[in-house]
């Protein structure tokens, strides 16, 4: 098995990163809509009935809830927390740059991007749930039916969704798809099987150290 150059991989990633960020931003409206659909499933699974619609008027997603709040006299008003979906989908750009840098197969890129939507949906859903269940106070949380252990679970899910998953998920998925490249780049092709793998990375002639 030929060695692969880590330096070339890093250089190619840095060259692809701005391109992928640009593409991600251009497509962000559609990506956010897809992530919102996944987030909706998480929210309905965790707190059924508290969201009647997710609107997407601009960059932010607006969660239209069934939770009543004080409005103008004689008029009903509902709580509508907003979440920035881009903070949870930027990993797509990182993932695409890594995959393109290792010349992975297109189906792997698409499959990985689809899986990343699950993590983005998780982050968006728990960001919304943290608004309703924690940040807006106990009265709102009580009205939403989010009390006790559910609040603790939301706190942990929110922290994971904000601090760890957006950055870790694209790296982990890239590593899963590129085990053979990692084995060659780190000279661990005889690592007892841990990194020996197959995938699109077998085609990386340009990255190989001649």
């Amino acid at each position: 098995m030929r060695q692969a150059s880590l330096g070339a991989f890093v250089l190619r990633t840095f060259l692809w990163l701005p391109v992928c960020f640009g593409a991600w931003y251009l497509a962000s409206h559609y990506i956010s809509a897809a992530a919102a659909a996944v987030a909706s499933l998480f929210v309905h699974g965790f707190a059924p009935g508290i969201v009647s619609a997710i609107e997407h008027p601009g960059v932010e997603l607006a969660f239209v809830t069934t939770i009543e709040v004080l409005g103008a006299p004689g008029r009903a008003a509902f709580l509508v927390p907003e979440v920035n979906p881009l903070a949870y989908t930027y990993g797509l750009a990182l993932f695409a740059a890594l995959m393109l840098a290792t010349r992975s197969r297109w189906w792997q890129l698409l499959a990985g991007a689809s899986l990343l939507m699950l993590f983005a949906g998780w982050g968006i859903a728990f960001d919304f749930l943290a608004h309703v269940g924690i940040k807006l106070g106990p009265a709102i949380a009580h009205e939403a039916g989010i009390v006790g252990w559910r609040r603790e679970l939301i706190a942990l899910g929110y922290q994971m969704g904000v601090l760890v998953l957006p950055g870790l998920a694209p790296i982990a998925l890239w590593a899963v798809f590129n085990r053979a490249f990692i084995a060659r780049a780190t000279r661990r092709s005889r690592s007892g099987g841990l990194l020996d793998g197959h995938g699109g990375e077998e085609r990386h002639g340009a990255l190989d150290r001649r």
């Binding site: 881009l86 903070a87 930027y90 922290q159 601090l163 790296i171 780190t186 007892g192």
Partner: protein
């Protein structure tokens, strides 16, 4: 150990260590004893570096503020490099390696992550004074990706430095 078993072992160990360290990080005692002092030290270090060429900066707790225009950045969770360090530590502990290589790798990796993190804090301090839009981009998206890329590169370089594995 075959390929599948090796991957499963690494993945399971990585997930367990990551969750344990992350849960520990969120507890009040660890926040008080480690995270907050670390964050404040990071802010003081950033302020000190800035004062080498720009005296118009002040550090207070986790806040870095311009004394010229009042603009300030607050270094919060996710911006102090602790989560990136936790991911790197979990990856190095989960991967089969000699104990000494793990210790050296973790120490060197923490330095690499935190050097880039200081660059993030200092750059955001100036980008924010220049443009709110650019600040949001750099803060929420670009620097997050770069820090994780740094973690990945450090991990790959560390694995490359390990002794060659023996064929079973």
């Amino acid at each position: 150990m075959n390929r599948r078993a090796g991957m499963l072992r690494f993945s399971a160990l990585f997930a367990v260590i990551l969750l344990a360290l992350f849960a520990a990080e969120l507890t009040p005692p660890v926040q008080a004893a480690v995270v907050m002092p670390w964050t404040e030290a990071l802010v003081r270090l950033s302020a000190w570096l800035i004062t080498l060429y720009d005296p118009h900066v002040a550090a207070a707790g986790k806040i870095l503020q311009s004394t010229t225009n009042g603009f300030a950045v607050s270094v919060e969770a996710g911006c102090n490099g602790v989560e990136a360090a936790i991911i790197l530590i979990a990856a190095m502990l989960a991967f089969p390696a000699p104990p000494r290589a793990r210790v050296v790798g973790i120490l060197a990796g923490l330095v690499a992550v935190q050097v880039l993190n200081v660059a993030r804090v200092v750059s955001l301090f100036y980008i924010g004074q220049w443009s709110a839009v650019a600040f949001e981009w750099a803060h929420l998206y670009a620097w997050q990706a770069l820090i994780m890329l740094d973690v990945l590169i450090v991990w790959l370089v560390w694995m490359r430095s390990l002794p060659a594995p023996q064929r079973a």
